[in-house]
């Protein structure tokens, strides 16, 4: 085991873990104050249930064996992975690192179902979705049929963001709209939380992308720089669009642009160089700033814009790989994009991979949600939606005042 590689991957794993609380704040701030704790708990639930399911069966289905469609159960219960092997525990470290990705992927969906999903339904949805959707798609991309065709997805644009983004759409179609949407405004209750969450996401994303080199090498350095630049360029583009279109530089536009840029550079981070991350970021910031308005026109209530940011941003980044991938720069064995002499072949493979992921993830997520709806129900009552999920689902309130009147039973 190379100690430098191990050191960087240990740090990267912790960075990626920190993204989930960051995402919770990013979403929680956009929520109304009576539902913020429910949003935080939906995210923290992923931090509780996913690591356990991941080591029992999730990782094995996502990586073990040579299957084109699904892994086997050879690595279930961490079988064969410990620090006594030849790799000195590096394999165990990779399972931990990928486990952090497994945590945040279903957590992304929480933003779409905000304010109205029963917590018990969410609690079951997460492990079901992890095993039935995340693990298979992860295998297709990393070691399955997509990987065999030469599809490139550096840190999870297709496997994570497109996958979670389309699942969010399927979930809200079953769940239905929030009461009063879209006539009533649902404005963010705490913009400082949103900005802090976006900052934590950016910080953690260096581990997500640069860590995905699985080594402390030049590719990690390039991925780090690309992550830095794409987020800035996308935040810049979104903020400028809002300044020109709506008249102001807004905090929410800036935060949304940063996150969209991070999403878009994720599949490309270790395959592109130079000014490519800036072009990708600028394009993403502009396109996503319009994509988030689709929901009102199409009539699906994706509460906090998981579709507009993660699905659309992930697609832009993944397709951009088909344009900007440069194997000469990396000395790597992968296809070149259109701008580096590879023609349209890689672009076509990227499109096929994303289309396949969207169809599979949409259908299976839809079926999971329908099954939950038919059994335990997926939606809170009208009363609970009115009074807030924090108190009804968790018996807690986020911002307590009037402590003088509280007595302990």
């Amino acid at each position: 085991m190379d100690t430098g590689d191990a050191a960087w991957l240990l740090i990267s794993s912790a960075l990626v873990l920190f993204m989930t609380p960051g995402l919770a704040l990013f979403y929680g701030g956009m929520d109304r104050s009576r539902n913020v704790l429910n949003m935080l708990m939906m995210n923290f639930w992923c931090l509780l249930i996913v690591p356990v399911v991941w080591v029992i069966v999730g990782y094995s289905l996502a990586q073990s064996g040579d299957g084109a469609w699904l892994g086997n159960l050879d690595a279930a219960f961490l079988d064969g992975f410990d620090i006594s092997g030849e790799d000195g525990g590096f394999g165990l470290l990779v399972i931990a690192f990928l486990g952090m990705f497994a945590v945040i992927t279903p957590a992304l969906i929480s933003g779409a179902v905000a304010d109205r999903m029963k917590f018990s339904a969410w609690a079951l949805f997460v492990p079901l979705w992890l095993v039935l959707v995340f693990s298979p798609v992860f295998k297709w991309v990393y070691g399955g049929w997509m990987g065999d065709r030469g599809v490139l997805d550096f840190a999870g644009g297709t496997a994570i963001h497109v996958n979670a983004g389309i699942a969010a759409l399927a979930a809200v179609l079953v769940l239905g709209k929030r009461k009063g949407w879209p006539e009533e405004g649902h404005r963010p209750h705490s913009m400082p939380l949103v900005m802090l969450g976006a900052g934590i996401l950016w910080f953690g994303w260096f581990g997500f992308n640069a860590g995905s080199a699985l080594a402390a090498n030049g590719q990690a350095v390039q991925a780090f720089m690309n992550t830095f630049l794409a987020a800035a360029a996308a935040g810049l583009a979104w903020a400028i669009v809002e300044r020109v279109r709506d008249g102001h530089f807004t905090n929410l536009g800036t935060a949304s642009g940063i996150v969209a840029g991070l999403v878009a550079i994720t599949p490309a981070a270790g395959f592109v160089s130079g000014m490519a991350p800036i072009w990708i970021g600028l394009a993403t910031g502009v396109i996503c700033s319009y994509a988030v308005n689709l929901k009102a026109k199409a009539g699906y209530d994706d509460a906090l814009d998981v579709v507009g940011v993660h699905l659309v941003g992930g697609l832009i980044g993944s397709l951009a790989v088909g344009l900007f991938a440069n194997p000469d720069f990396f000395g790597g064995e992968f296809m070149a994009g259109l701008f580096y002499g590879g023609g349209m072949r890689l672009f076509g493979e990227q499109a096929l991979a994303n289309a396949s992921t969207m169809v599979y993830s949409f259908v299976v997520t839809f079926v999971i949600m329908l099954a939950l709806k038919a059994t335990i129900g997926v939606r809170v009552s009208d009363d609970v939606e009115d009074t807030g999920l924090d108190l009804a689902e968790h018996a807690e309130t986020a911002y307590s005042t009037g402590s003088a009147s509280v007595t302990r039973n």
Partner: protein, 112 residues
């Protein structure tokens, strides 16, 4: 002149606002308040300890009205705020000795 004061459920504010607009009311004052009535409070749980919270959030709506329309406005608020379960709130009317619009100096009924 009368002051119509209503304490209602927070989730009914938008309905009440629309009802007041339909009733021709041109202004209202809204305050977030806490209190208890027959609904009593709720229980929160932290590390297994139950905390009884007696004062629960409500919204107070205040509208100035001339004597003729006061009861009609109160009725409109009541209709919009009703859910038929305990905790819908209360409405009361109080006499107002005088009203003045600050910008113009108009007084009483002209200032409403």
């Amino acid at each position: 002149m009368k002051l119509v004061t209503a304490v209602i459920r927070p989730s009914k504010v938008d309905d009440v606002k629309e009802a007041l607009k339909s009733a021709g009311v041109l202004g209202m004052t809204v305050t977030e308040v806490q209190g208890f009535g027959r609904q009593l409070g709720h229980t929160e749980i932290y590390r297994g300890a139950e905390y009884k919270v007696d004062l629960i959030p409500k919204v107070k709506v205040e509208v100035l009205a001339d004597d003729e329309s006061a009861q009609r406005i109160a009725d409109a608020v009541a209709a919009a705020a009703q859910t038929d379960s305990v905790g819908d709130g209360k409405i009361w009317l109080t006499e107002v000795a005088g009203v003045m619009r600050i910008r113009t100096g108009e007084r009483d009924d002209d200032a409403i």
